[in-house]
Symmetry: C2
Subunit: 399 residues, 2 copies
Amino acid sequence: MRTEQRDRVTDGWSRREWLQAAAGLTATGVLGRSSWAQPVVADVEKQLVVHTTVPHNAEAALNDLVGHWLTPVEHFFVRSHAPVPEVDLATFRVSVEGMVEQPLELSVGDLQEMPQTGTIATLTCAGNRRSEHSAVRTVAGVQWKEGAIGNAQWGGVRLADVLKRAGIKPGAKHIWFESIDQVKKGDDTFGFGGSIPIEKAMADHDGVPGALVTLRMNDQPLPPDHGYPVRMVVPGYVGARSVKWLGRIVVSDQPSPNHYLAGAYRVVTENTPLAWVESGPIYNYIMNSAICDPTAEAELRAGRATVRGYALPPGNGRTISKVEVSGDDGKTWQAANITGQNVPYCWVLWQASLPVTSATSELIVRATDSEGLVQPQTVPWNLKGYMFNAWHHVPVNVT
Amino acid sequence: MRTEQRDRVTDGWSRREWLQAAAGLTATGVLGRSSWAQPVVADVEKQLVVHTTVPHNAEAALNDLVGHWLTPVEHFFVRSHAPVPEVDLATFRVSVEGMVEQPLELSVGDLQEMPQTGTIATLTCAGNRRSEHSAVRTVAGVQWKEGAIGNAQWGGVRLADVLKRAGIKPGAKHIWFESIDQVKKGDDTFGFGGSIPIEKAMADHDGVPGALVTLRMNDQPLPPDHGYPVRMVVPGYVGARSVKWLGRIVVSDQPSPNHYLAGAYRVVTENTPLAWVESGPIYNYIMNSAICDPTAEAELRAGRATVRGYALPPGNGRTISKVEVSGDDGKTWQAANITGQNVPYCWVLWQASLPVTSATSELIVRATDSEGLVQPQTVPWNLKGYMFNAWHHVPVNVT
């Protein structure tokens, strides 16, 4: 079963298979809901560090991350607020509503028939490295280490094209996304959601769409855990804005009232209604970097150590200009080599051969972006443990 | 002339004088615009470090700041985006409009007749300590050092009372403030403005109003540079939200479109339309502290040095629990004594007797708030140089 699932995704789905699925057909004919739910949601076997199973929250082991600039699905972190919803492609639609001239109900087939585009973009959780905030003062939530990040190729339809088809009314300012999942919070059940500014929705960043209504991940249909059949991907924004299992797009003059825009994913230091309205939503992710190899408490020999990791440029379209590592508490820094691609909205992988001595108690990395801004040495704590991007320290033992 | 102006304010205005002024009368009868403009706008002689004269931007010398928990007007920083407007009290009105049941046109007399309240609150510019951001990378704007802060007693009418009198319509979310001043930006001329969330406008923080329609500063009519005849004071928020020379209050379901809410006073790292919409407005100020005495490059004798300064709790209603100073680069810290009042929305003054040696090259201060959060060691740079609140360092020479 394990091998079978994996092969199914590895072998890929042809466009014909996709269109059949979208039309509610396979080679053997019309199928009902339960039949569709199973084969299509068959998932690749994950090789992740699991935090929770339902909803599924899991991150990559750091050694796995640095092996591939394009993260394979099995090593791509999963962040969910609710169980994977069942989907019947025959009836599944994404609605486009609110301040539009013509509301739309789009099937997967409808989306497949629109102009397709592909883009590579890194997604990262706003809570990546939350455990380092917790080391200062415990914060609730999934205690992510440095593995809640991944870089993939995404395929689908530019959100701008969908919105143009619906026709945006004057005065629109925000685009809401709402999932068909069922988040339970206290007595409430609702779909995960959020919004982005309309300027981002309509943006074209030198070919990278501001937001992509996404059907494919690494040239395969979206895996269930990653939003099958349709998700948003918003390059440069924290993962929470790339709503999975997309069911509804709303054009509005207001930001989304959804809890995950209005009452979470904001940097606050206290949990009061006033504090939440006083803080703006997090959109862009910020520059970050991590040492993935060696990992914490590794035993090293004095001499030269190979150090590898990732660095993420800020989500505003800059690139990484420099990654530096230190084995002497930041007194001296050595530039690492960026291995492979270095493009906006994507991480870089890097490697360095760093002298270490018996005096070396930790390795440190910091990144610099293409405007010369350096990753901060420290960052202030916040209540929800978001946006931790201080210099990354890895304790090691050198003999 | 200098003495005369100063005495006039120092001697104070009686309530009777105020009411006469508000009614367009003095003891000698009705006066026209020019007559009113002059005596009432007569200002105290300032003892400030002047950055610009028109508009007037000036900050306190640090030694002056630590002398008084309630900052005298002559040492209270001035931040203006336009020249002081002339005012004719006979015709001056503050309008209250937008999503209200009953628009209002309030004269100073009308405001005087409403229930008066007083509150002590610290105001500080979002750009206080901007020069330290500029030390990393030059940012435009007034190069404030640590003196763009002051603590005063403010008197006037709770904004909540004004809004209740007008009647707020359902769906209102933001309260806009607009000045009668005339800011020139490119070809545009407009009044300085901004907005606050309605929750803040209606808040009562254990007796401290969320926002005060302010007529008096330190028991005197507002000095011209501080917003005569009416200004907003929003305790806990950066100074920019405490709009001076208030002419208009608008109730809306949207944040103010004014440049100083939508296109300034936000933490951004690049100047693009998208970056501005992606960042939220700055509302609360954040915890800060500064050594005011000794000042930079002071000559000290080895032994014990008296160190004095201020510390500001975050603008969310917390207080300062601890101020610590170090003479050995942060290896060890000594608690300072908080001298005088320690209440929410107000700074504290503090003093320490710190051992210094020939190895001491700088003094450092950091504060801790009542929830145990410590001021950050470093802060990320931003394009407009706002919210600098890293540990404050003062280089000294010890012999």
